[in-house]
């Protein structure tokens, strides 16, 4: 009903959107969050396992979607669990997306305030950011997908270039011993790494726009493998260069990783500006798709035009943005969102999937009984 039949995206575009949504959140903080919990150099194993869990969750969501092609989660969960409860879950999703968007953009203001814009009032930078994002998302899912396709290769190339330059000062000893304290620290770090993969839930609404909805599993797997590779490299480089202790004590270890080496003789000697540039782009994409997902939910729940929802949501997100008072509250807020996402997208899709299978099974049974 809210879907323009021409507004379709292909499988690659769906994968790119998933990747972009995931990448924004984890690049800068993943290695610290994990190292804090794990305390050993085995962060990269946590990332690997976390990625696999994310893929599993993604496959569950994509399979769930397959049974309801052309519909988003906001529409079909009302079919599965009933109008009111389904609507309630839909609203929770909307809230979650809003909070994610606010959290991401707050992280952005913290980092840019620290490294790029010391004197500028944060509300000014955030408002402009939101307007630029609004300009893109009123165009619908197709321009969003196309812009993400532009951003992603640039991100990957620059990111690899910048981080891999640190190979010269990588100390393999920092990465040893592998599994020195057994598997338990790895599992302890798991929660943090799984958080870094939040964003894959966007597949729940993306499938409705796909030209080939039955390829949504493929899209989500590709979409997760990409950031997984990036995260692995980040974890290995950050721990290898800065050591576990070094990573834990730094707020933004990836930035410090890039700051820790200089190449003389080039125009840039230091590359954190490049890293910041691509990171802003990633946050932009995460923010845009999160607000888009939230607005789509509102518009489908209450039958209003999606553009109106976007205009309405921006001020709300702005208020949420302003709530955390300092960086500690911000990270607490981040943990809170992570926990919610665990329940909302770890458990709810499985329950929905089981329910829908059971429902289908029972209808088939009754069909058989009738025939």
């Amino acid at each position: 009903m809210n879907i323009n039949p021409k507004d379709r995206i292909n499988t690659i575009q769906a994968a790119v959107i998933v990747s972009n949504f995931i990448l924004g959140s984890g690049i800068l903080t993943l290695s610290r969050a994990t190292a804090e919990k794990a305390g050993t150099p085995d962060v990269w194993i946590s990332v690997l396992i976390g990625g696999l869990i994310a893929i599993a969750a993604g496959v569950v969501m994509a399979t769930l979607n397959k049974s309801y092609p052309e519909q988003t989660v906001y529409q079909y969960n009302r079919i599965i669990v009933g109008r009111w409860f389904g609507g309630f879950i839909g609203l929770l999703f909307v809230c979650y997306f809003c909070m994610t968007a606010a959290y991401q953009v707050r992280t952005l203001t913290e980092v840019t305030g620290l490294f790029l814009l010391e004197g500028t009032p944060p509300w000014a930078s955030v408002m402009v950011f939101m307007w630029v994002s609004l300009y893109l998302m009123v165009g619908g899912i197709n321009p969003i997908a196309r812009l993400f396709e532009l951003i992603l290769p640039v991100t990957i190339i620059i990111y690899l270039l910048v981080t891999l330059m640190g190979l010269r000062i990588l100390d393999p000893n920092n990465l040893r011993p592998v599994l020195g304290q057994g598997i338990m620290p790895v599992l302890a770090g798991l929660k943090a790494t799984v958080f870094s993969f939040t964003g894959l839930e966007v597949i729940l609404i993306l499938t409705a726009f796909m030209k080939h909805p039955n390829k949504s599993v493929k899209a989500v797997v590709y979409g997760i493998v990409m950031p997984m590779g990036i995260y692995l490299i980040t974890a290995v480089m950050a721990i290898g260069v800065l050591s576990v202790d070094g990573v834990v004590t730094r707020t933004w270890p990836t930035l410090d990783l890039v700051r820790s080496f200089e190449l003389t003789g080039l125009i840039f000697e230091r590359f954190e500006s490049l890293l910041l540039v691509i990171w802003i782009m990633q946050i932009y994409s995460t923010f845009t798709i999160a607000i888009y997902a939230a607005s789509l939910g509102l518009s489908q729940l209450f039958n209003v035009k999606i553009q109106k929802c976007m205009y309405a949501l921006l001020p709300i997100v702005f208020i949420i943005w302003a709530i955390p008072k300092n960086i500690n509250e911000l990270s607490a807020f981040g943990d809170f969102i992570g926990n919610i996402s665990l329940y909302l997208f770890g458990i709810v899709p499985i329950v929905l999937l089981l329910l829908s299978k059971w429902k289908k099974g029972s209808t088939e049974e009754t069909d058989e009984a009738e025939s």
Partner: protein
């Protein structure tokens, strides 16, 4: 409506009444051969081909040796007038516009029709090399102001029965001919229909140049980017047609329009294909780089100087800041002064008569470069920045694409002045968001970059060897996909 009377004298009086307003119309009365029937021709002095009139109309009619049977219309048109174009009209109102556009009207006593004879003589410029799109290698042929010549140039390109030249008329008061050119078995019929529909919708009493059409058929009038390409080069038009695009030629202008346009086309030059592929590829990459430089260098200068001197190498930062010590302005004002000066210089250079041009360059370069630095208005490093920017923007092969970049450069500078590098990133995001939303005749402006069309990437940043470019651009949804076979 005044109908053509069968009495010649009545007709001529009617026409003479009209001639008060048309001083260039001449009436020549004569008798047809030995039959004694009175006749007259009406033609416009400067527009009609006098030689044709003298030889094939007057001489033919005057030397008719009749056998006494009355002169009939079919006799005149079929046996006397040896001219290829002949039509008949019945009213004076229909006759006058034809006469005023160069045809000759033949009125014979006793006939109720006037015979219109095609004697239009076009005075056209010779075919010259296009000034605005110079090439080192490639045909030295450019369009001129005559539609017939231009159509002929396209036809002459090669024996090709599928080249369709569909004629339309445009302008309600000053009616002009316009030709839509496309390849019948290549171009997407939907595209052709769309072009025709948009042109049909134009309501203007006068269309002086193809730029009018461009502005009236483009998708988004608020966009800074040209959504229709204009060119003087026939080879460019031909290769666009072969890719499945549509060209629009208007009478009276050497600029043909090509649609749809994608962003990558603005940075391509026909030479990329004429030179070997390595040179073509490298030059094309160079142009992309130049476009980036032309767009962003002053903005980067402002953001690094005003916001993040810490992000550039320390020595460089020190030398830049050292050279700016005496400058009383902020970096934005400083950069604006120089950029505006350069833009004025460039605009002035365009309008100047050719012999004065170089003098202008010397004066401008000397005063603005040397003196401004010595007076301490700007820093020497900014002069370098501005010069690099200007040179890079000259490397853009299309004039109108260059203008887009020039406009956007100023926007980028203001963004940088407000938010530094963050502002520049937001500017880039905004620009990209605009480009991905923009469409030119249904084709996404950002294609083939996005959505990914790997096959079209052979002719995007790089220009692959010709034997590899087997298919036409996918984004144009052509009827015939392969270049090799008909």
């Amino acid at each position: 409506m005044i109908e053509v009377n069968n009495n010649l004298m009545v007709n001529l009086t009617l026409i003479r009444e009209q001639m008060v307003y048309h001083s260039d119309v001449t009436i020549r009365e004569f008798l047809i051969g030995n039959s004694g029937v009175a006749a007259a021709i009406v033609f416009a002095n400067c527009l009609a081909d006098r030689e044709l009139i003298d030889l094939h109309i007057l001489k033919a009619l005057m030397s008719v040796q009749g056998d006494g049977t009355p002169i009939t219309k079919s006799f005149v048109t079929n046996q006397v007038l040896s001219v290829s174009q002949i039509t008949e009209v019945v009213s004076v109102e229909e006759m006058m516009p034809k006469v005023l556009s160069g045809s000759t009207a033949l009125i014979i006593d006793g006939f109720t029709e006037a015979i219109i004879i095609g004697t239009i003589k076009n005075k056209t410029r010779n075919i010259e090399e296009p000034i605005s799109e110079a090439l080192v290698r490639g045909p030295r042929v450019g369009f001129n102001e005559s539609l017939t010549d231009n159509a002929a140039i396209l036809r002459r390109h090669g024996e090709n029965a599928s080249l369709a030249l569909v004629s339309m008329h445009i302008g309600s008061r000053a009616k002009k001919e316009l030709v839509i050119a496309y390849m019948k078995d290549i171009a997407d019929p939907n595209l052709v229909d769309e072009v025709r529909k948009r042109i049909g919708k134009i309501e203007m009493d006068n269309v002086p140049e193809s730029g009018y059409i461009e502005q009236l058929i483009e998708d988004n009038y608020l966009s800074p980017f040209p959504q229709v390409q204009s060119t003087e080069r026939p080879d460019r038009v031909i290769s666009a047609l072969m890719e499945g695009r549509v060209a629009i030629l208007l009478d009276g202008t050497p600029f043909a329009l090509i649609a749809p346009v994608t962003f990558s086309m603005l940075l391509q030059s026909p030479e990329d294909y004429y030179e070997r592929w390595m040179a073509g590829t490298l030059l094309r990459l160079l142009r992309f780089f130049a476009a980036l430089v032309a767009l962003l260098t002053p903005a980067m200068y402002i953001s690094f100087i005003s916001f993040h001197p810490g992000l550039i190498p320390t020595k460089l930062a020190l030398s830049i800041i050292g050279s700016r010590v005496g400058v009383p302005f902020s970096s934005l004002v400083e950069a604006l002064i120089m950029e505006v000066a350069i833009e004025i210089l460039r605009e002035a250079g365009l309008r100047l008569p050719k012999p004065i041009g170089p003098a202008m360059g010397i004066v401008g370069g000397l005063i603005i470069g040397e003196a401004a630095v010595q007076a301490g208005i700007v820093s020497p490093i900014l002069v370098i920045v501005v010069a690099v920017t200007a040179i890079s923007s000259f490397a853009i092969p299309q004039y109108n694409a260059g203008i887009s970049l020039r406009m956007l450069r100023f926007v980028a500078m203001f963004c940088a002045a407000a938010f530094g590098l963050y502002g520049v990133v937001l500017f880039i995001l905004m620009l990209c968001a605009h480009i991905v939303k923009l469409k030119s005749f249904g084709v996404p402006y950002a294609s083939p970059a996005v959505p990914y069309r790997l096959n079209d990437w052979k002719d995007f940043f790089v220009r692959m060897p010709l034997f590899m470019m087997k298919s036409r651009p996918e984004m144009l949804h052509t009827k015939n996909k392969k270049r090799k076979r008909l």
